[in-house]
Amino acid sequence: MKLRKIAHSRTGDKGNTANIAVIAYRPEDYPLLEQHLTAVRVKEFFSEIVRGEVVRYELPGIGALNFVLHEALSGGVTRTLALDIHGKSLSSAILEMEIPDR
């Protein structure tokens, strides 16, 4: 199934680094995120966009993962040539990722 079915997301930016929080709608789905939404997979999914490292932080208390995408914003909001200068639309892209059904 698509990630969109069990989780919601929000993107933020700091300089040339983006972060995407992925949050399970239901606490019981969080282990599924933790198991299948690895930093390696997210890095591969965004391989055309993210030039640097992808780091994952876990927040089981709120059922969320926080992905930090380094060198992801072609220079960052102040100098990028991109239409989406903040990378705000990345949060919608990640919801297209596939994860196994419950």
Partner: protein
Amino acid sequence: MKTIRIGSGAGYSGDRIEPAVELAEKGEIDYLVFECLAERTIAIAQQAKRGDPAAGYDPFLSARMEACLPVCRREGVKIVTNMGAANPRAAAGKVMEIAGRLGLKGLSIAAVTGDDVLDILRAEDPMILEIGSRLSALGDRLVSANAYLGAGPIAEALRNGADVVVTGRVADPALFLAPIMLEFGWREDQWDLLGQGTVLGHLLECAGQVTGGYFADPGLKDVPGLARLGFPLAEIEEDGTFVITKVPGSGGAVTPATCKEQLLYEIHDPSAYITPDVVADFTGVRCAQTGPNRVQVTGGRGKPRTDTLKVSIGYVDSWIGEGQISYGGPGAVARGRLALEIVTERLRLTGVPCEEIRCELIGINSLHGEKISSGHDPYEVRLRVAARTRRREEALLIGNEVETLYTNGPAGGAGAWKAAREVVAIVSTLIARPLVKPTIHYYEVHA
């Protein structure tokens, strides 16, 4: 038990104004905070101040103050804002002028300065990682250097009776933390309390982003009344426990989901969110719905603050030239792709020196590249070419090569648009705390 109510009246400089008035009128708040200073804004404001010593503060300062000052005065609401940007004293002067005109006699205003550390940094000449050289390598392209101040000077200004506190660069959560520390007498080494107060500041600093803005996804995450979105307010108790809510009847929604999204917005390591006041730890935070549009937030913690302060450095970087044109109907994508090839070849033939270029079709690949976006064929596409150049004249040529597609490109090119803009970019460094000396200036309206 004593409870403080703090409202968030703006999430960025250009934000809606009437939700702030609504908060002041109906929110029963003690403080109204306007966070209006983005990373790069202060550099642009510094450029404005160079041209005119009375300029360099937020362009919407007058509009916000005219709308909010009378009601805040009437309801006894104190205002804290970073709308001073590069010139807090001139901003305070403007607030004085407006308050005088509105007859708000006795209003006390404070301006916090000391964040401008350009001269100190010039002397220190630190290594700047993002540009791979020392600061001095930027030469006359260097525009500004501002350290992020903490809650201390704001709390002091409020303690001394200021009704309105205007700052320049201050860590966003500190705008909220300052009144809380003052009201509850939290010491500056009560790290867990400061961590929890920072959670509050972080949740509120983007205003509507915690009440249902930047959230709706029809069918999955529906939010009512976004056209009249209510801005958030927090009710906080002495032990740091707080509730996020909004004015009853306003649009939007406050739920654990909206709060969780905002908690992680622009966060890297959630166990170490570094601010001038504390290293906050968000990993123990819990959000619980305790009523309609009421979410209780607990569990923020903190560790001792660092010995350095972050500094944002603004510099003139380059120019960006851009052009856009649309193609519609059958074959639109193929004509768009042909047009991109033509512009790319034209820029090569005419020898425009581009340091970096981006050629894309809006509707096809402009946001997420080819790989993620493949498999869709829209009815219309919009070509976009943006390129970085050293000089303005070169940047203008980028848009021209798109515009000339009208008569030289594929059939049906429509709605061409072009622009060239100068880029003021931001890099950052750290500065030793003792080198930064905040100063508070006080003013009172007599008129």
